[in-house]
């Protein structure tokens, strides 16, 4: 198990280096350099030369990459072109609002999915099972920004008891106010996550129900409840925890388009608006951050599998 874990760890490290290279190359694939944004601007060639030298942009690509990487390792991700402030600071300020939304949605959706998923797995092919399965397929098919618009239409405009956008009413910092603003984005995200999770829970429980030890437990005349709690759930827990681990990146980046629709002042919306503004240092950092999170989440999921399933060792 330890060597396998080490192998996976090395793979993750390689992927992380790959991620940094891709991110760096992407930014250098942008045509021209920052001084060439306006073609009508006639610049003194020697001044351009000096500027490029100053920012070390005349050096070979590989040394530029290494210089950038060493800055990244020191925690220096550059400054936003839009705000003239360190990228990391800007991201840090927005992370709490995102976490408030994503964590709440994650907990609610996972809890609902576990309760409903177990229920429908134990009555496979019943009308309830079919209904939930179809509903969850519909849930993963709905464009969330559209769902958000429909909810705003209904609950903010037609029957106006909820605010359409933002996180706070200016001048009102109460928790109730934030909760009211949170409700619509939360509903969208819970629907989105629930639709995905419930299918995993259902198939995880179904997998266990088909195992021999469950059959023999039934043969021994154990009660349904005992079988469920003693044999099925502990074994079905693992794939579910793995899926939870794979949700980690989503928690820390936020749902980009959903935050944008609701003007939720979080990281997801920041990513979208920075991209639109071509704020390259932010785009670069966000790519590095998100892709690293996914790589790390994958490693955690792999490690969990190894820990739990002795057959993989």
């Amino acid at each position: 198990m330890i060597p396998e874990l080490g192998r996976r760890f090395m793979q993750t490290v390689i992927v992380l280096f790959g991620v940094s290279m891709v991110t760096f190359l992407l930014m250098h694939a942008a045509p021209g350099h920052p001084l060439q944004t306006n073609p009508e601007l006639r610049l003194d060639p020697t001044a351009v030369e000096r500027w490029l030298q100053l920012h070390q942009l005349d050096q070979p690509l590989i040394s530029q990459y290494l210089a950038w990487l060493s800055r990244v390792f020191r925690g220096d991700f550059g400054e936003s072109l839009l705000y003239n402030r360190p990228v990391l600071e800007l991201m840090g300020e927005r992370l709490p609002s995102t976490l408030l939304l994503t964590l709440t949605a994650f907990v609610l959706a996972l809890f609902l999915a576990i309760v409903v998923g177990i229920k429908i797995a134990t009555q496979q092919n019943s009308w309830l099972d079919r209904f939930v399965c179809t509903l969850s397929l519909a849930g993963i098919s709905v464009p969330y920004f559209w769902l958000a618009m429909v909810l705003v239409l209904l609950f903010a405009y037609r029957f106006p008891f909820l605010p359409a956008v933002g996180m706070r009413t200016p001048g009102d910092g109460s928790i109730l106010d934030i909760l009211k603003h949170m409700l619509l984005p939360l509903i969208v995200m819970v629907i989105a996550n629930f639709a995905r999770y419930v299918r995993y829970v259902r198939s995880a429980v179904l997998d266990v129900l088909q195992q021999d030890y469950v059959r023999s437990a039934i043969a021994r005349g154990l009660k349904g409840k005992d079988i469920l709690y003693r044999h099925v759930l502990p074994n079905a827990a693992m794939p579910i925890i793995t899926v939870a681990a794979l949700s980690l990146p989503m928690l820390f980046t936020g749902a980009m388009v959903a935050e944008y629709v609701f003007a939720w002042p979080g990281l997801g919306r920041f990513i979208v608006t920075s991209t639109m503004a071509r704020d390259y240092p932010v785009i670069m950092t966000v790519n590095l951050y998100t892709a690293s999170l996914v790589a790390i989440a994958n490693f955690i999921a792999d490690a969990l599998y190894l820990l739990i399933d002795p057959r993989l060792r």
Binding site: Q11, I14, V15, G18, V19, V22, L26, M27, A29, A30, P31, N125, R130, L137, A138, I140, S141, V142, P143, F145, W146, L147, M149, V150, V152, L153, Y157, R196, R199, Y200, S203, A204, P239, T242, L246, S247, P249, M250, T253, G254, A255, M256, V257, Y260, V261, I271, V272, T275, M276, R278, I283, V286, N287, T290, A291, L293, V294, A295, N298, A301
Partner: protein
């Protein structure tokens, strides 16, 4: 029975939506670009089935024409990712060794970038355009297909019929094309039913943010972007384009579900699900 029903409903819906898109010039009641200053933001009526937009254009006709773009993006980018993915998966599994390691590590690296983020980044670097959207979605979709094909081939290579073909003196190329590829096609087809709706959704998302297909070409995504400002006054403006995105994506998911059950493929957890779409 039930899986066949799911498959049937899914395929029927796909056929219907495709027909609407292909026959858009015949079925459209108005010129999708024709503006009418006297008739802006009209609710649905017998003349304008889905109402009119902020410039008095017919939403029904625009939805039909928008479907052409959405389906084209979905299908072309899927062809791209399936083609590249199948090829690289075959090469990786067949040659093994260093080739395999390099291809699969590159796949790993592409996989950890959420497709929506990568699409946003590439569109920010270059200018938003239809071909770029197709290229980006197709170019980020191949790794999961490559992984799938690779694991299928590795599994099939152990099977008796490949061993007997080899004993009969079949050449490598013949084994790959005649034996491995046809048998790996089922999972690839199922992958396609995930890939098309994901592409449709990404295109819609990008266009909604104004970073995808640019006006005046109508797409469901950029119609929603336009409609956002008029949401309070004209529900139909946003409702119908979104409904069609939903129906298209839903029809492919139904087909995939039905196909998977019919082919007897187990519902394995899809490991490489993407964050933040």
């Amino acid at each position: 029975m039930r899986s066949n029903l799911t498959l049937f409903i899914g395929l029927t819906l796909i056929a219907l939506l495709t027909m609407l898109a292909v026959l858009a010039p015949v079925l459209a009641t108005h010129d999708p670009a024709a503006t009418n200053a006297d008739k802006w933001l009209q609710p649905p009526s017998s003349e304008h089935f889905f109402g009119t937009d902020r410039l008095g254009r017919d939403v029904f006709s625009r939805v039909l024409y928008g479907g052409r773009v959405s389906l084209a993006v979905g299908l072309l980018s899927t062809f791209l990712s399936l083609g590249v993915g199948t090829l690289l998966g075959l090469v990786a599994s067949y040659y093994g060794g260093l080739v395999d390691v390099i291809i699969m590590r590159v796949a790993d690296i592409v996989l950890v970038f959420p497709s929506m983020l990568l699409a946003l980044t590439l569109v920010a670097i270059f200018e938003p355009a239809l071909w770029l959207v197709i290229l980006v979605i197709g170019g980020t979709g191949w790794p999961s297909v490559a992984r799938l094909v690779r694991s299928e081939v590795l599994r099939l290579r152990q099977s008796d019929f490949v061993a007997s073909a080899r004993l009969l003196g079949a050449k490598n190329a013949r084994i790959v094309w005649q034996h491995l590829l046809p048998n790996a096609i089922g999972p690839v087809l199922v992958a396609a039913t995930f890939s098309v709706p994901a592409a449709v959704m990404t295109e819609a998302g990008l266009s909604y943010l104004g970073l995808g297909v640019q006006p005046p070409t109508p797409t469901w995504g950029n119609m929603l972007r336009d409609a956002q400002l008029y949401l309070r006054y004209a529900w139909w403006y946003a409702f119908f384009p979104g409904l069609f995105i939903f129906l298209t994506v839903f029809s492919f998911h139904l087909t995939g579900e039905g196909l998977r059950q019919t082919l007897g493929l187990s519902q394995t957890a899809r490991r490489n699900w993407r964050a933040g779409s």
